[in-house]
């Protein structure tokens, strides 16, 4: 998968691309408007991750506009420091698929990117398989050893988040924000995620699934089959 990351802040760009490279994406960088515009128009990418504020005479919105004229089907995720409603609406109006407010959690971007690519390039029908677990995203259904597992919406979201970020450390706040959305920062106590994780684990193990959820140093969790 080829990704174009348009981000003017080099350190942030490196963090994002480092994180995404683990998923074996090919990440290209563009740090100003002219480069971004040229690359977006000339080359074909599976997805563009676009920052709105860019140096060099144009904004990320202009890049998206130009791109969508050529390839309306292109997948675009906007990342912007501005959490202004206007930007979000303008971006989504231009055909962007998703919008993330800076600062965001890298696993969240990863999950959104995966979900977007799945929807866009596999018609949303591609099942996610991890050993004995199979998730069919279009139906929001989960099977363990081919038997349907009954999960609450939060447990389902949690499982999907884990599956999107396998072998990675996900800390509490990142999980809380995935489950609650941007507003999670309104709350300061995330103990509730323990119960969701506990329930999910229990349901999985009860169906004969191995315990893939590992607590990491009391700071978060990791979903992995490695030991």
């Amino acid at each position: 998968m080829k990704i174009l990351l348009i981000e003017d802040e080099p350190e942030l760009a490196i963090s994002i691309s480092d994180f995404l490279k683990v998923e074996s994406y090919l990440v290209e960088l563009a740090s100003d408007f002219p480069t971004a515009h040229e690359k977006a128009v000339v080359y074909e990418y599976d997805c563009l991750i676009v920052d709105i504020n860019l140096p060099g005479g144009g904004t990320g919105l202009d890049v998206i506009r130009a791109l969508k004229e050529l390839r309306p089907e292109a997948a675009v995720i906007i990342i912007s420091a501005r959490n202004a409603l206007d930007d979000r609406i303008a971006g989504l109006d231009l055909g962007a698929d998703d919008y993330l407010t800076k600062p965001f959690y890298l696993p969240e971007l990863n999950a959104r990117l995966k979900a977007l690519l799945r929807r866009r390039y596999f018609g949303g029908s591609s099942d996610i398989v991890f050993h004995e677990i199979k998730v069919i995203p279009t139906h929001r259904s989960v099977y363990v050893n081919e038997t349907l597992l009954d999960l609450t919406p939060k447990e389902y979201d949690l499982l999907l988040y884990f599956l999107a970020n396998q072998h990675r450390v996900l800390h509490r706040e990142s999980i809380a924000e995935h489950l609650l959305g941007d507003d999670a920062d309104q709350m300061d106590d995330f103990n509730f995620i323990y119960s969701h994780i506990k329930n999910l684990r229990k349901k999985l193990i009860d169906r004969g699934c191995l315990d893939y959820v590992k607590a990491v140093y009391g700071i978060g969790y990791k979903f992995t089959d490695k030991k």
Partner: protein, 421 residues
């Protein structure tokens, strides 16, 4: 004391003694003038009598009227030496026509006649003069009194007119709000002092406004500029945490960096939001249904309600408000999340929405800060809480912006916030 009363009192204090003094002085002057006139007249009579005596060597028989009379009597011889000049005195005689005692002025002088010295006394009635002085005094007092009243009235009218621009300025200053978009504009005045006052106030307001905007702009810019470095730190923290080789201690330290960063992010976003509300960036108004907003947020909070084992009581009606949707959401979110965050384990949360107000009540431990302090920025009921202390400040700001009445109280373990539409 009002300015008008003050000037009137001063005026009164200044004018009244002058009037009294003037009254007394004119009274005595008049009396002196009349007495003088009387004496002159008596002296005239003396001169007439003396010249008559010189020619006729006898006293005249005329010159005896009701008010003016005279008589002469011989003086003892040894007394002559001493009686050289004339002597004036006041006396009271019987007026047989009026049948009453009346004051008279008397002049006594010696006259040589028929080889003997006579003492002649000439009298003239002063009753008319006394009456006249009295009438004049009353007249004068009445005039002064009337004058005083007229002057007070004129003073009031004039003061009111003269001070009118001042009161206008005062009214404008009272209405002046720093956050307003228009600069302070005071009406021009032809009075130099008022004009000077207005110019000074305008300049002052201009400076204060400029400083205020600079500070606000600074907050906004600072918040904006902070976002990128914070995002970088957060990204790096996450990458570090993915590192397989770090120890548990390191991981926990990195996690603390991450938590502090997120706290800064929250703080930053709240500050940005506050300055945006203050800058009137949420002007678009439309009908907003409050009940669905509350429902949505309570569903969102479900996990936290369960976690704290909170009892939820709702009593609501459909209520539509004309306001900004984002501000409505923020208001509801802040009120409800606060009520959950600062609630007790096993406590309750009561939400009441009716035609006039929205009330959020929750059980709470006694806040160390007083109610008023809690709405101040960066005030936290619990100093160890992770919150940034801007939640209520944002609520206050939104209520102010939308013209809602906001009442907060803490009584008997119940924290209560009421928003009056």
């Amino acid at each position: 004391m009002k300015l008008l009363h003050q000037t009137q009192r001063l005026f009164f204090r200044g004018v009244l003694p002058v009037f009294i003094a003037a009254g007394v002085v004119s009274f005595f002057t008049l009396r002196w003038v009349f007495d003088h006139e009387t004496d002159e007249k008596l002296l005239g009579v003396q001169a007439e009598i003396e010249s008559y005596v010189q020619i006729n060597d006898t006293l005249p028989t005329f010159f005896q009227t009701v008010f003016d009379r005279w008589h002469a009597e011989p003086m003892p011889y040894d007394f002559i030496e001493n009686v050289t000049g004339q002597t004036f005195s006041d006396t009271i005689l019987f007026n047989k026509f009026e049948n009453e005692m009346e004051p008279f002025r008397q002049l006594r002088f010696p006259v040589k006649m028929r080889g003997q010295v006579w003492e002649v006394s000439v009298f003239t009635s002063t009753v008319e003069h006394h009456d006249l002085v009295l009438i004049l005094a009353v007249l004068l007092a009445t005039m002064f009194g009337l004058l005083l009243l007229v002057m007070l009235w004129v003073n009031q009218v004039v003061s009111r007119q003269v001070w009118q621009p001042f009161f206008e300025t005062l009214e404008k200053m009272r209405r002046f709000r720093l956050a307003d978009h228009l600069p302070l504009k005071l009406p021009p005045s032809s009075v130099e002092e008022i004009q000077e006052l207005n110019t000074t106030l305008e300049n002052l307001a201009h400076q204060v406004r400029r400083d205020y905007h600079t500070v606000k702009k600074f907050t906004e810019n600072a918040s904006h500029e902070l976002q990128t470095p914070l995002a970088i730190i957060q990204g790096k923290v996450e990458l570090l945490l993915q590192n397989e080789t770090i120890s548990e201690t390191q991981a926990q330290q990195i996690d603390i960096i991450g938590q502090s960063t997120r706290r800064m992010v929250r703080l930053n976003q709240s500050l940005l939001l506050l300055s945006k509300i203050e800058n009137n960036q949420f002007l678009e108004q439309k009908p907003v249904d409050l009940k669905p907003l509350l429902e949505k947020r309570l569903i969102w909070l479900d996990d936290f309600l369960t976690e704290k084992k909170l009892e939820l009581q709702v009593d609501w009606v459909e209520k539509t408000l004309e306001m900004n949707l984002f501000l409505a959401e923020t208001l509801v979110t802040n009120l409800l999340t606060n009520a959950v965050k600062h609630n007790l384990q096993g406590g309750y949360l009561r939400v009441t929405l009716n035609e006039n107000c929205l009330i959020v009540e929750n059980s709470a431990a006694l806040p160390e800060a007083s109610v008023k302090d809690l709405t101040a920025r960066f005030a936290r009921g619990n100093p160890h809480s992770e919150g940034v202390g801007l939640g209520l400040a944002i609520v206050v700001e939104i209520c102010e912006q939308q013209g809602f009445g906001l009442e907060m109280s803490f009584e008997q373990g119940v924290w209560r916030v009421q928003v009056r539409f």
